[in-house]
Symmetry: C2
Subunit: 189 residues, 2 copies
């Protein structure tokens, strides 16, 4: 739980008692490779924090192709916000790419913490804003650069991820086919 505590404290201060309360609601959970953390068509029921492993968010486009929208790695929050916040069905899958160790909060517990701990909502808001801003920032360059540049930027941004995910996931994230990605990789020194 140390990772989670450190993560939270980056965004604001809580006293020992408040932090303890948060931790009593935190449940540790294993998610095996390929299993889903949340699924399209269902309502997201948990907020997660990845201690170990990589997840991805993916969906099927109108041609039926499976598209990876983004990757989430260690020490990050994982939650389908739109679904969780608004109690609506999710439009994407959140899937473990490797075996994952995750800390989860049920929706009821999460809500209780928001109602109970003064200042927790502000911290949560900061965490979420930062994550969303980062998401936008990471996806934007994917549109305007050529495929090789996109791949190189990905390597810089996610050095920990690149060798742990199948090429096909990465290719759809970058918006190219797997064979193109393979060729691009070959041409990099």
């Amino acid at each position: 739980m140390k990772e989670l505590v450190n993560y939270i404290l980056q965004f604001g201060n809580l006293n020992q008692q408040q932090m303890d309360l948060i931790l009593t609601k935190a449940k540790e959970k294993e998610i095996k490779k390929e299993e889903y953390f949340s699924e399209a068509g269902k309502i997201a029921a948990e907020v997660g924090f990845i201690i170990d492993g990589i997840m991805r968010v993916c969906y099927y486009n109108n041609k039926g192709e499976e598209i990876t929208k983004y990757f989430i790695d260690e020490n990050n929050l994982v939650v389908d916000l739109e679904s969780f916040d608004n109690n609506i069905c999710s439009s994407a899958y959140v899937q473990a790419v490797t075996d994952c160790k995750v800390i989860v909060f049920s929706k009821a517990d999460w809500q209780e913490l928001l109602d109970t701990i003064v200042g927790w909502d502000t911290i949560v808001h900061k965490i979420i804003s930062k994550a969303l801003i980062q998401k936008v920032a990471r996806r934007s360059p994917l549109v305007s650069e050529d495929a090789t540049t996109r791949y190189l930027s990905f390597m810089e941004m996610f050095p920990k991820v690149i060798n742990r995910v199948p090429l096909s996931y990465l290719a759809s994230y970058l918006g190219i086919t797997q064979s193109s990605l393979s060729r691009i990789r070959k041409n990099i020194p």
Copy 2:
């Protein structure tokens, strides 16, 4: 100011007195076509709400090309969040694409409202989360679809925008060249 009031009330309730206080801080402002609302290298000083007109967020990539990251139209908030929240220099320009009428709040006033009005922070959080989620949702499909599909989706998502912005802005938003976009348009019935 009616537009702003309606917009706010979508996200939560405020009494008359609270709303009046907000409106005392709101200043109306004109921004002429091509002028900047905020600039790269400077710290964003205002939160804006577009009453009329279209703005865009743009930056220069490492090849020196000007890239439009997104468009913002009527009845939406406009602010470089990362810069405004953290007091750091902005990395992008926010520019009026057409003449704009905007309601603005200075940073000091905005902060005062947050400190004074109970519940205003929650409303602001909701507004911002929704805007960010929307931004992510809008950019994601740009990566995985072909250019024609991207253009068609843009038309659906921004019917009000498409005929009011130069082709070059739209092309860089879609990640293609202006001439390709011109050809794509020609081939659409």
